[in-house]
Symmetry: D2
Subunit: 302 residues, 4 copies
């Protein structure tokens, strides 16, 4: 594994810093773009790292995965009456489709879908703003994981587009809680900071048929695990899901903080991080690292 | 395997005949809806069948897979300058997206994308109307495969919507040949009749890392094979691709004739057929059979 | 004139009560659908009435006309950098177009456009919630015009769709004030109650080259008056603007309370009211009355 | 009148040649952009001209007016089951709306609507390709009006987008004749060449309550005339209809050849011509000339 990581690094090091750090809020725009980390967590519990793998970063949309898993535990299949399971074919924050589909978002990984998932969790948890944080602490075995309040507050100040989507869904009867409260919970989830190591550990159960070696517990059934992985594979990378499947061939999820998680079912989980993004909003060097990895291991799910 | 087929049949036999046979052209509408066949072709060349597995049917959109493979052999990666690799999120014949994307179809399995693929093949083959038929004869080892001219001519008579898409792409500079000629070639491909056995054999190379045991030849490289499977997984089932991934978890492609092919990479290929369709235009009993199969084998790609 | 009103009434009396009273909020749904009133205010100041012409009703979207005139007085031509002057071709509350046009609404009479106008007025008036009410008191010469708080509060409770549009515009930088405050001002304007007589008097200046006989003052220049009338003619009747021009041929504006105002330039202003609406949300009997009127006077602007 | 024309010319002469001549076909692109003509035809038959008023040019979309009048004579109100009467709010050749509205174009002056009108005329006339030419010969009193075959053939070669729209309407059952034949008739109508004088005379009946002083005949009833004028006012200027109403305030129709006709009901008809177009595809100097005219006469329909 360590030699695999070296090969990957050799392939992609010229790309580190290429692309553009997300800057729609100042707290994200200030991140140094020349960072790169990678962590692998094997199903037998070994951790392999390279570069800035221990440095916490803003997980942003990767939180949608944990958010979804919490809601699936609560609602099971019933969740799919309020959200679709289809790729959207449009940018992550498109509002057109939401009107066309009468307030039912296409899948849980576009913003509108994640807001419905947050609305589901808001109805259930006593402290919805920290429910995801508490969940990832246990999944990763790291009790020190924090929400970056500066980021959360800054996202809330720039809430207009997400607020527009939430209100549109409310107008179609697909939003039950106060819009502003749900938005704040949602932004708190996005503002969680974790390292590559934290994330690789936290999602390892998705590579391990639902069983978490850290939590020592079955998080999802074997079947649910396959289902979540299928959603990641078809909808996890915004409007690059198809290209990511074509080039990398693994279930994955990216965030505008520059992190990407991916699953090698039956073998290991992986998290890469590099803050500069490509035009689709996915980490440029991170995506290249995963493409290099599947080339070197000669394996993808397809 | 034979006992697997029996278990599947037991699960889904109440569904046979449920749904609605495609009837936009008379030749398809006349098919008896109470038919069901299934054929598995293992990577070591064994064939397992049940029901009407030897009965030829109209392969319709399944032809898009063969059409694509021919064009990939001709053009390689250059093909993707004219077609995307992303799921569409909209019905297979939507024209909105085509205008929004300035004439570049989202993927090769929606109608617009298959028409561009046909246009590519039209530019190259001496007899474009029969190029796919000759290709599937060799892939399946069955020299008697035919084009149903009644179906092809009837589709051509009802060409209006496909003609509209082709002309729209031409208006954006993404169509090189005479629209009517390409449409007729395209309809001839859709009107090929094959049995479940023919199809399971013809696509086995996709389960076998690109090598065809029938043709005794590498059809695609190992890497290209993974790429085609990824496209099938993200875009093969129209606007049900996500649900199909969620429930079945295999690369697959359906046709309105009631056939569905699917790939279990490294193991076997499978074809099911039952003419009555669900609301999304996919075989109702066929989809259920594949869902039953992955449940019984306890395996999917995810 | 009185005989004209009698002829109109004879033509349309069978239609009174046909259609459906707006019921998206309870306060509007409770209105008796069998009411009909009509008032004409000639440019020399004469008032002609028939039926329930003195009964106050909820002016709803007719308030958009007064809202616009206030903003035009403040901003002049500069207003058109934030709103278009084109018919929308889509329902009054469509959000698709707003995304397509990057937050610039098509015209000031669709909801999104009226919200931008309200945002402009919110930035200027000390008491924006009552600015329009004070304006119409002076224009109509009736100091007793009220805002129905039950209606305003009920609209605010059902604000989701309008909130969605306002936030979407904010996300594009085309909304300056707090969304909730502007929405409440907007709903207060819609909840003004006026009678046919009040409205016919209040808008007479649009028939009288900008001069109000009631206020004894030039409200708009002659040229601005023509411009406002042109906007009413092309965009005043939601997605029925073209049909209304075809059948009636006058600048007009409707509200879901069942009122319609219309302008006969150089001659008189008119207001009809009947609460039951057609499918496009315009008063069914009211629209028929205006059609009857232009037939009897043998005159339209075209 | 002559002094009015002089004033207009003084106002707009700096604009002549500004903008861009249509160049999607070579025959139009070759026209000298520094030309300007204007002709007024009063209801008592007087002609007033300035500049290149006698020079024939390609009438292009202005032909849609004559095309519509022929179809209205044939079908009357029944025509509106196949075409709407609403402004489109989108560019003249948008295909999105056509899918959204299931093949019913918004109005007879966008391309899709004009194609349906052409389809209606195709079903009736023995020589549909010349029906409009014969009609305008009589209306203008000029027997020498020609179809420019070079232009018609060149348009036909570039037919892709119009073909796409026609086939889409056919797929919805709203197109009865062979697509290619109707397209050729349509392009022949667009390729008619007329001068400002020809056009001002030909449309004078629209200013004269339906009666043509040239043909000495009632072409449309008084009521139909008003209706056609209302359609011109709400939909005659593509997606600039609202701005044209706001600035000019007259029913009008433009063509990409640089001509614009306009109607002053009860008084006169006017045609301006200058080949260079603004971004919306309307003659830049021509639009300015009409705006100058209504300013000088202090009158518009609103």
């Amino acid at each position: 594994m360590d030699s695999l990581l070296q090969k990957i690094y050799k392939d992609i090091s010229p790309l580190i810093g290429q692309g553009k750090v997300a800057d729609y809020i100042p707290a994200l725009g200030a991140v140094d773009s020349n960072q790169f980390g990678i962590a692998i967590c094997s199903n037998d519990g070994e951790i392999y790292t390279l570069g800035d793998a221990h440095k916490p970063f803003s997980i942003q949309s990767i939180s949608k995965v944990f958010n979804l898993i919490l809601a699936l535990e609560l609602k099971g299949e019933e969740l799919w009456t309020r959200i679709g399971r289809e790729p959207s074919g449009l940018p992550f924050n498109s509002i057109v489709q939401l009107e066309y589909e009468h307030g039912i978002p296409k899948n849980p990984f576009i913003n509108a879908g994640a807001l419905v998932v947050s609305d589901v969790n808001q109805s259930h948890f006593a402290s919805p703003r920290i429910a995801v944080r508490e969940f990832v602490k246990k999944l990763s075995g790291n009790p020190n994981i924090q929400i970056d309040k500066v980021v959360a507050d800054s996202e809330f100040e720039h809430k207009a587009r997400n607020a527009s989507m939430a209100y549109l869904m409310q107008s179609y009867g697909n939003f039950n809680n106060d819009v502003e409260s749900v938005l704040y919970s949602y932004f708190c989830n996005c503002a969680i900071t974790m390292s590559c190591v934290d994330l690789a550990k936290a999602i390892n159960f998705l590579a391990n048929r639902g069983y978490s070696n850290i939590k020592k517990k079955q998080v999802l059934t074997k079947n649910q695990t396959r289902q979540v992985n299928s959603l990641l594979a078809t909808s996890g990378m915004y409007d690059e899901a198809g290209s990511f499947a074509y080039k990398v061939g693994l279930p994955g999820k990216s965030g505008v903080g520059g992190g990407i998680i991916a699953i090698v079912p039956g073998q290991f989980s992986i998290c890469v991080w590099s803050p500069a993004l490509n035009d689709a909003g996915n980490s440029l060097a991170g995506g290249a690292a995963l493409e290099s990895m599947t080339k070197h291991i000669g394996w993808s799910i397809y």
